[in-house]
């Protein structure tokens, strides 16, 4: 019964965090070892839970592993209990999260050693000054991600979610301060990291506020935050009866669902709160891989997965919640993909592709393709972690992020290059990598629902639009990914010095790449249209109180879709080849796409959203707050002026007035009474003179007398009692 130990899965990395912070923080190797050992232990335990879950099969969906033994927050007659909740998708996450985390931990042991050249010209590799702290943070992060996955109610989920936000903040800002001996970062980096960290935390905080509001309203209307209760249709129906309507014509469920979706928008970097994620690339690359690609941002998707019944319920009873989710997702997928085209930073391209892919997942969930969306979440985590780690290896090796200073690197870094290609093709959706299968399923669902309706339903324009947006996004994805490949690994080196400096990474860095690449290649076969094992596991058990999903047979529509999506991907890649591969870009040559003119300028400036309501961080470390923030700042200064001059001024006025009054008062003297009585008693001395001769000064003498006396008293007592 491994499931009873589920809560120990997050506990282990948390213990590692505590141990590193309290005990081993001064020993880099030991700290890394503690972190890795803890994650290995957690991995083993969670694989245990995962296997136990697999052995339950589809049964698990109806009867998930559940227990809530820890009383956490009592109020009135109610108590919110904490515990664990593992359903099929949770089990799958328990497989994915520790695996990716372990790979990233191992990778980090090497990545956080920096090469630098000392004053004598000798190259050195030395640990980052905050090496141990790095492992502490990512251990805490992993603990919280695992806690989030296993949590049994929304509050517990929220706590893990927020602490992850903190970890993200700390890790983005990992290089935001430096001591006098730290050479590996410069002032511009410090400035950028500082701005990016705050930007990330505050932007997601906005979403968290919405999420928290939604959660509290859910608690108030539903009376519980337990997932068990949330997935109980009878309990959900009571929600409609509770509070009064918030606005005329709007019911609570849709409000709550959209507020919770607000959390996802911020955490998963969806339009319009996506602005923090590209800047978050200032953190060390393993962090980007871990937090800003594979796990934390997908926590937002996981939230929508957890809240899926609520969304459905809201959609059915009170408003278009699902459609909004789908539209935001699809729009973001397209929107981010366009920006991704115009980025030169190797990590930022990946960042925008992350935003775009998360949009994909949301679109899938929004159109009801629950299983496909979930599956894309899993596969995306693997190949995106792979891509980030590969990009990190490149950066670590040649010391720049700028793709225009790279080129031809596959000759210098074959393993990194090949694995990167695997990841990139998976991202594009090239047969038969995992990305193909998962993305294809999403498109298939949209296509099937949109263009080939069931009997009795008309063609759905909304779904057609979604499908088109996703298809265009897929094309753009292939385009910018191809652009990245051609600029980085193929073609000619554009910066010869950097190229000469480049070298294959140490084994601790390429081994995780290889493992992740293996998963990227094979994971897709878990859910192919012919043999949808994942679908059977997740979707067919009357999941979350919903009716079971039905998987369509492999039919011509599916085949068509496979061909179409392959065609889209290949055509995107072909365009990229035409622009960047056919005639490799030379050093100093502008980007061929710059010919787009004004459109290109829009894309490079990311639609000027940072200038509107965000916080624009420049390459040199300076930053300009956006319009909205300037307004808040002005209001803040107004408040401070008001406080100092008006509110406090009134108080001081009152004080001044009373001081005038106080001048009218006098003061009173006090008398001190003198008098001392002395009394001496010489008589006492006389008496003492007479008595003192009895004192022999020998203590044993006294004791003997005392004893005799005691015996005498005893005898007297005895005599009296005898008479």
């Amino acid at each position: 019964m491994v499931q009873n130990f589920t809560l120990f899965i997050p506990l282990l990395p948390f213990l590692a965090f505590a141990i590193i912070v309290l005990l081993t923080r001064n020993n880099n190797r030991l700290s890394a070892l503690v972190a890795i050992l803890s994650i290995v232990a957690a991995l083993m335990l969670s694989y245990g839970v995962f296997l136990e879950a697999l052995s339950e099969g589809a049964e698990l969906a109806a009867n998930p592993f559940y227990g809530a033994p820890i009383a956490w927050m009592p109020f009135g007659g109610m108590t919110i209990n904490f515990g664990w909740y593992v359903d099929p998708i949770g089990a799958a996450m328990l497989f994915m999260v520790p695996t990716v985390c372990l790979m990233i931990f191992i990778y980090s042991t090497a990545y956080m050693r920096h090469n630098h050249v000392d004053e004598h010209g000798h190259p050195h590799a030395e640990d980052d000054p905050r090496y141990a702290r790095f492992f502490a943070y990512i251990s805490l992060f992993t603990a919280m991600m695992l806690l989030l996955v296993v949590s049994s109610n929304l509050l517990q989920f929220f706590i893990a979610w927020e602490v992850m936000g903190f970890c993200s903040y700390a890790l983005i800002g990992f290089w935001s301060f430096r001591g006098r001996k730290e050479h590996h970062i410069d002032d511009a980096q410090v400035g950028r990291a500082r701005g990016a960290a705050i930007k990330a935390f505050l932007t997601t905080r906005v979403g968290d506020i919405l999420f928290m509001t939604g959660m509290i309203l859910l608690l108030i209307t539903l009376g519980s935050l337990d997932f068990n209760k949330m997935y109980d249709p009878a309990a959900m129906n009571n929600m409609l009866a509770g509070l009064a309507q918030p606005l005329p014509g709007v019911e609570w469920p849709v409000v709550i669902a959209l507020l919770i979706f607000g959390g996802t928008i911020a955490k998963s970097a969806q339009f319009p709160l996506h602005i923090w994620l590209p800047d978050a690339m200032e953190g060390p690359t393993p962090v980007s891989a871990l937090i800003h690609a594979a796990t934390m941002v997908s926590a937002g998707i996981f939230l929508i997965i957890r809240a899926y019944p609520l969304l459905e319920f809201a959609q059915q009873t009170s408003g278009p919640a699902m459609q909004i989710v789908a539209f935001v997702g699809a729009f973001t997928a397209l929107f981010a993909a366009t920006i991704g085209l115009a980025q030169n930073d190797i990590k930022r391209v990946l960042a925008f592709s992350t935003i775009s892919q998360l949009g994909y997942m949301l679109a899938a969930l929004g159109i009801g393709a629950f299983v496909s969306g979930s599956f894309h979440l899993l596969t995306h985590a693997f190949f995106k972690a792979l891509l980030f780690l590969g990009a990190g290896a490149v950066i670590h090796s040649i010391g720049t992020n700028d793709m225009f200073k790279m080129g031809g690197l596959i000759r210098k870094m074959p393993i990194t290059g090949i694995t990167f290609f695997v990841g990139a093709f998976a991202l594009m959706g090239i047969f038969p990598l995992s990305g193909f299968w998962s993305k294809d399923e999403i498109l298939l669902d949209a296509m099937r629902e949109g263009f080939y309706p069931h009997a009795g339903m008309s063609q759905d324009l909304f779904l057609q639009i979604i499908y088109l947006m996703l298809a265009i996004a897929a094309f753009l994805t292939a385009l910018y990914t191809g652009r990245q490949l051609f600029l980085t690994f193929l073609g000619k080196p554009r910066d010869q010095a950097a190229y000469d400096h480049a070298h294959e990474s140490p084994v601790a860095m390429w081994a995780p790449l290889a493992v992740l690449a293996t998963f990227t290649v094979f994971l897709g076969f878990w859910n192919t249209p012919f043999a949808p094992a994942f679908f059977h596991f997740v979707g067919e058990g009357g999941f979350m109180g919903l009716p079971p999903f039905e998987h369509s047979e492999f039919d011509p529509i599916a085949l068509t879709n496979m061909l179409v999506s392959t065609g889209i991907a290949l055509s995107g890649f072909a365009v990229a080849w035409g622009l960047y591969g056919f005639r490799p870009i030379q050093a100093g040559q502008p980007d061929p796409l710059a010919r787009l003119g004004f459109v290109w300028k829009i894309l490079v400036n990311k639609y000027w959203l940072d200038e509107l309501y965000g916080y624009k961080i420049n390459l040199d470390g300076t930053a300009q707050p956006g319009l909205l923030i300037r307004l808040v700042g002005a209001f803040m200064r107004l408040c401070a002026w008001f406080d100092r001059n008006v509110v406090d001024g009134l108080v001081n006025l009152a004080g001044w007035l009373s001081r005038i009054l106080a001048r009218l008062w006098g003061w009173v003297d006090t008398h001190i009474v003198d008098g001392l009585v002395n009394a001496t008693a010489s008589v006492t001395g006389e008496i003492a003179e007479w008595w003192r001769t009895m004192q022999t000064g020998n203590v044993q003498n006294y004791a003997l007398m005392a004893m005799v006396g005691a015996m005498a008293i005893a005898i007297l007592f005895l005599l009296r009692s005898f008479t």
């Binding site: 009135g76 109610m78 500082r194 905080r205 928290m212 401070a640 406090d648």
Partner: protein, 529 residues
Amino acid sequence: MIPYLSLITFIPLLGAIIILFLPNDKAIKQFAIAWSIIPLVLATVAWATLSSWAPPYNFVYNACGVTIDSASAGYTFGECAPWISTLGIQYHLGADGLSMPLIWLTTLLTTLGLFYSAKVIQNRVKEFFALFLLLEVGMLGVFVSLDLFLFYVFWEIGLVPMYFLIGIWGHDTDRPQYAAIKFFMYTLAGSVFMLLGIIALYLYSSPNTFDMTLLAANQANMPFSKDVLISSLAFLGFFLAFSIKMPLFPFHTWLPDAHTAAPTAGSVILAGILLKLGGYGFFRILLPIFPQVSQQWAFWIGVLAVISIVYGALVAMAQTDFKRLVAYSSVNHMGFVILGFAAAAALTAEQMQNPHYINNGASAINGAVLAMFSHGVITGGLFFLVGMLYERTHTRELALFGGFGSQIPVYGALLLLTSFASLGLPGLAGFVGEFMVMNGAYSTLTLLAFIAVWGIVFTAAYFLWKIIQKILLGNVSEQWAKLPDLKGYEILTLAPLAVLMFAIGLFPNWILDTINTASIAILEYMKRM
């Protein structure tokens, strides 16, 4: 039955007297620290005893002729003796889940404050330590007394030592005399209104009494509750006193001056405990004794609370002085406490019949009390941290700092922890209270709650932008190249607070269990309106 509360309250007084006779500074310091541990231990034992009587209580509170059964109140440790019998004034002490955590916090922060001051305070040592212990008497007295007159006496006792602490040991650059007088006069003005309120309650109660438990238990039948004017005026008197002490916008301006001027330990106590006297009064007196008036004014009090939250955060953001910023953060955080009060008070009579609303009301009260407790812990810690930095750099100007995260990493870590606890990161102390308050507030004051919740974003903003970024991040300038990290005694001062932040954040049940009993009791009183 051991008279825990009398012992806890008066042992510091005895200590203050003994200090007057001690010969040298070292002895005074060691004695004061050791002595202050006694009430801490007693309070711990008392709390443990209280929490070991898990609800439902199997006892009946019986003191001062008041018999309260287990259903309606959680008072324990009752002590009673006639004091001024012609007026029916009694020496009536008692504690419940509302006061017990605050009592414990008072004793803890006093010990820590003394411990820290022993290293820092070098002039007029005897007076400082004696006054500090006297201050503890005043604060503890407020928390334990169940007689309004006694309450008032202790309330005023606490003022005097604080006045001297600010005036004598304040930093000369911060106009300590001005701040001390402002603090004293402002608070005194408020408490005069409270005295009027107390007298009004006495005159308009039948039988005439100062006993809080009687007033609360029988308020529905008391003459004052039938007379809207009298009860509103009395309510206003109490409200003014408490909201000045809290402080609630717009009565908060004494606070930044007093906090900034006070010596470190004084600021800690001021923020950690003295502010809580007001909050305590809200829940101990206003809610049970004036449920109707509270209900009528709940929305407007909620408005003030929301202004405190948002406005306090914005003004804090505009500060350039580290200590003033932390001081304004108290305004911001205390707003949540009052919002919790308003949320609970806003429950209407028919909502009282619905257990669902009762639970959310209890959530608001629990949250407010826990927010007070954790604010004491966190802001206490923050003021310690301010003081420690000031001891090193002799400036509090935020613009002069930077890069300390790598220069003094232990300080950095503790500041990071405390700041995040303060801005309400889940898993640390601040969040639980805020969450529960918001839970209560959303159920009765939905709109206000939705505005208040944005205060959390601003709170995060000023902590991240003003404190963490300005102090910890960036490059270390040459000026601070030799800045030493925290010493052992400083870490020892902060360690209990850090542990508490985690203990509350990770497992709040142990403290909420205690508070919840009191919340249920208060709601039970309110039901009788």
